[in-house]
Symmetry: C2
Subunit: 347 residues, 2 copies
């Protein structure tokens, strides 16, 4: 049998009673040290709890998996990992391979950092959109920026995990990550990230040396965050209870708390507002011109006005596609007069 | 002091060693039985582990919170809850109140159902968008449908939690939830949900009676799912490893596995395609009519054609807002001829 046991976030003592039972029962216990770092004293504590049969293993051993599968076919094997043991896709792969080899698998869940963020920051679980990982240079930053943008455009929060590579000992420092965010902004220019962007840096969550800092990017970019693992949160629109939590738990100065999603106005909102304004202005000129040239264009002008009102109504109701369509149509109706030279006017 | 202790998903044995230590140390232990049901034998097991000082409490007691805060100001009080103790906003409220009353709080995280879904279904943690809860009748279903739509439009999965109300003993049955999805579809008509929609029903995750079913809506809507808690997952676009997991772990027939996100084309795509088609057709008629009436409208017709081409280009480039604006404008340019009776034509 193959047991996947989550160690959770609180070191050796984060192990559940069920996890401890199964680990003790197992003939071999592999300890995954690559998805998240496990401090030496925690390994020692685990040995104290489970026994000396713990073997620390890295990515290659687990990705290869043949040894584990082979052993699990003959004995009870446990794979212990920080957080929840199944969040890493390599572990799921291993589980599927075992199941397909008719080896029974048991999963003992542990708290994952993704779900702990709610409790540690006060940001509601229901307000987190898709999470994303920031890797060191060379990896697709546009995807990271896109996910942040998508989440912010919906007013929801983004958990940005920072790469940790056990084999090389590399971990992406939050300061470097913050610089990367600014670089991404310079490339993509959607106006999402600047010195005032509200951010949270969460380090070593669950451990006794846990530390969470919140504030604006300018203030956070120079701090020392210590040992990994780290992650960032880019909050979106904040419920008043979330603001309360940020102030109470993270001691974030009220002046620094802001709605990051305002910047990430859906492209639609900015677009519609701009065209509503310019088309309304064009309409006034057209109406005047129409009178001056004694044209009978009231029907058309009325239609333009109607579609502009519709557009505004759709915008306020959050029906962005219809808002854009209506304002585009209104503009087209009006511009036609100019193009056919029906009215001698420019706007 | 006030300890928030996550029981996790595996009953009494889901308690972590740290959680057990603190619960034993506490003078009073309140057990939250309202955010998720706790079976009687589990309560008994907990008493066996922690001692008789466990008091089961409901929503009102925790929302009121005064007794807890009062006690925590004088002794060590523990609040034990299923899953992660901080996912419920009422618990966070309590924590903030304690902190503001200078009562130290400690959180011992437990695995939340939201994070366990990855391991139980093989759907990647990074592919889940915002979760949402389906409440019984009277609650805003349009919001639920919107969240599902938003996630599907981005190809990502939705965890749909089903209401559980301990005070009344009510829990939303998955069959009723599936019917609700069909009703929501009838109201909103975005083509997201039908008999072939791939869905997963997950019940009592982590318990010994855990059960997960996957398949199409038509097949799932008649099954008996037993006791709560339940949740649904509406998967989006599936990575091949996720398909592999659904087949291996959940035994879902290959013929039933589909990409639900194909239906959830962004509203924009369906809209633009429709208007491109109708406006092109109208343009043909207008060009003919223009020749017949010997009108000199080539400039205008050329503009209409340009904006239609632009729209299509924007659509293919994923620039949806510009695509809608362009096709709306093209349609307006053309319709103006009809409204000003420049052309005697209908389309």
């Amino acid at each position: 049998m193959l047991f996947f046991i989550g160690l959770g976030l609180h070191g050796a003592k984060g192990l559940s009673l069920l996890g401890l039972d199964l680990a003790k029962k197992a003939d071999i216990v592999y300890l995954d040290t690559y998805t998240s770092p496990v401090a030496k004293d925690e390994v020692d504590s685990l040995k104290g709890l489970i026994g000396d049969k713990i073997i620390a293993v890295g990515r290659e051993f687990i990705e290869d998996g043949r040894e584990i599968i082979h052993q699990a076919g003959q004995k009870d094997v446990a794979l212990v990992a920080s957080g929840d043991p199944m969040v890493a896709t390599t572990h799921m792969e291993l589980r599927l391979r075992a199941e397909r080899s008719d080896i029974k698998t048991i999963v003992v869940h542990g708290p994952s950092i993704l779900c702990a963020l709610t409790g540690e920051t006060g940001l509601h679980a229901y307000n987190f959109g898709r999470p994303v990982t920031l890797m060191r240079t060379g990896a697709p930053r546009s995807t990271v920026y896109e996910v942040i943008h998508e989440n912010l455009a919906r007013g929801i929060h983004t958990a940005l995990l920072l790469e940790y590579d056990q084999a090389s000992g590399f971990s992406l420092d939050p300061r470097e990550a913050l610089h990367s965010l600014l670089e991404m902004e310079a490339d993509n220019r959607q106006g999402l990230i600047d010195d005032d962007t509200l951010l949270i840096v969460a380090s070593r969550i669950g451990s006794s040396s846990q530390s969470i800092s919140g504030g604006n990017l300018a203030g956070l970019i120079h701090k020392d965050y210590g040992e990994p693992p780290h992650l960032l949160i880019i909050p979106g629109r904040l419920h008043f209870t979330e603001i309360d939590a940020l102030r109470t738990l993270l001691d974030i100065d009220e002046g620094k708390i802001r709605d990051n999603s305002l910047r990430a106005q859906r492209l639609a909102v900015a677009m519609v507002r701009r065209y509503l304004s310019s088309t309304r202005s064009a309409l006034s000129k057209a109406v005047e011109r129409g009178k001056a040239e004694k044209k009978h264009l009231d029907d058309l002008f009325e239609n333009v006005e109607c579609y502009l009102s519709d557009s505004e109504r759709f915008l306020n109701a959050g029906k962005y596609e219809l808002a854009i369509l209506s304002v585009g149509y209104a503009e087209g109706l009006l511009d036609s007069l100019r193009l056919t030279k029906e009215l001698k006017v420019e706007w």
